[in-house]
């Protein structure tokens, strides 16, 4: 861009992992059993993974005779702030089930890094 600034950007798109989702549920001794009525494996794919990272590097001014040069790097990981699913799974609520009352079941999405992460670093080297 300019003599001192360089910019970079990365976009990753990864197709979702195949996994098995339940179709139905039933009860056994008060516990909820998830069940896939078709006995199939990998009946769904979890949503795609998208991530956009950007970075900018600012080089220090060059001074004749200086023994070292340095640069500042500003970057943001996951600019779109997407919670990409690492996995999607199902469970019954952790609460103690009360006899005669319904037990909730839910779908959960696990994202390993669920936020954008800004960072600043300074690198230097001796000439």
């Amino acid at each position: 861009m300019t003599k001192r600034w360089t910019f970079s950007s990365t976009f990753s798109a990864i197709s979702g992992t195949p996994t098995t989702f339940p179709t139905t549920r039933y009860e056994q001794q008060g516990y909820i059993v998830p069940h896939n009525a078709f006995n199939t494996r990998n009946n769904v794919r979890i949503p795609m993974y998208y991530r956009w990272d950007i970075g900018a590097t600012l080089k220090n001014k060059e001074k004749p005779g200086k023994k070292w040069s340095g640069e500042w790097v500003f970057s943001v990981y996951n600019v779109l702030n997407r919670r990409n699913p690492f996995s999607i799974f199902f469970r019954q609520a952790n609460e103690r089930a009360i006899a005669g009352e319904p037990v909730n079941t839910e779908a959960l999405r696990l994202s390993v890094i669920g936020n954008f992460i800004p960072s600043v670093s300074y690198n230097f080297k001796f000439n």
Partner: protein, 291 residues
């Protein structure tokens, strides 16, 4: 303790990225469900017949009405279960009567509008519970100060005894997924090679109630603890082991497993498989007041 530390770390760190989401699930056919876990105790025995329902439908399962249900033991006794409300079929033994003795084999026969459903089970042996050990613990990492319990019992010599250990607090069964306690011989699974020992420490310690995150909670003086060991057939153990993996999936973090159907032992003449498990258990129990 190190393991608990690790789990707590994983739960604390990873649950921050865990969100409940809305997903659209494929709908499956409605299937009959048999919930038949019978014991040799001299109290009313219930078999529950219900229909399966969509996974995210959190309503109470609707019961199957108008079925005939009986259990036949191999020494010729027939026990008729009569229909009660909501798909419950109940057999009430007379005073001192029970469904049979250890070693007996049983066949469950159900007839739902001409569809014949059967299952087999046998009553396996169960060890006596020697004692409950109450202990005051303080200054333990991640544990609240208070009284914690362990039960002591010795597994029979001979590989392949399987048990379901149930703890009751003031007569309420501790039925959180974290509190499910099943044992193969004296440990967790068939590969452990711990035959004929006293039940190992984590299994003893599961006699304590847990909180929402699976961390044990202390008992209060005056509360009543009852521990029961129910014998299971190996087929029932496999069923419960697969189910346990599913129930505890939420605490596995990044290691959550894909779904696996537990394999029940119910057979049918109908076109659609019948779900569930039939098990006849011998029970030993002990109860104590917390001091």
């Amino acid at each position: 303790m190190k393991k608990l530390l690790l789990y707590t770390f994983l739960i604390g760190f990873l649950s921050s990225c865990e969100d409940p989401i809305d997903v659209t699930l494929e709908s499956g056919p409605t299937q009959f469900v048999v919930d038949a876990w019978i014991t040799n105790e001299s109290k009313p025995q219930t078999i529950k017949l219900t229909y399966s329902q969509d996974y995210l439908d959190s309503a109470i399962a609707s019961g199957v009405a108008g079925a005939s249900v009986e259990i036949q033991s191999d020494n010729g006794n027939i026990f008729l279960f009569s229909e009660n409300a909501d798909g419950n079929y109940i057999w009430t033994p007379g005073p001192g009567e029970s469904i049979g003795d250890i070693g007996d084999n049983y066949t469950l026969n159900i007839d739902i509008n001409g569809e014949k459903i059967t299952a087999q089970s046998s009553m396996n042996r169960v060890p006596v519970i020697d004692s409950i050990f109450q202990e005051f613990r303080d200054d333990e990492v991640f544990l609240d100060d208070g009284i914690y319990c362990q039960f002591f019992s010795r597994d029979f010599i001979g590989k392949g005894d399987t048990y379901w250990i149930k703890t009751f607090k003031n007569d309420t069964f501790l039925n959180r997924p974290f509190e499910l306690n099943i044992a193969y011989d004296a440990a967790f699974d068939s590969g452990s090679e711990v035959d004929g020992l006293i039940f190992i420490t984590p299994i003893r310690e599961f006699a304590n109630p847990t909180d929402d995150d699976g961390i044990p909670e202390p008992w209060m003086p005056g509360e009543k603890i009852r521990v029961e060991i129910h014998s299971m057939t190996n087929a029932s153990f496999d069923y419960m082991e697969t189910l346990r993996d599913q129930l505890l999936n939420g605490s596995n973090g990044i290691f959550a497993e894909p779904l696996a159907n537990p394999n029940g032992n119910i057979e049918t003449t109908g076109d659609i498989d019948v779900l569930g498990q039939f098990n006849v258990a011998a029970v030993s129990s002990i109860e104590e007041i917390i001091r």
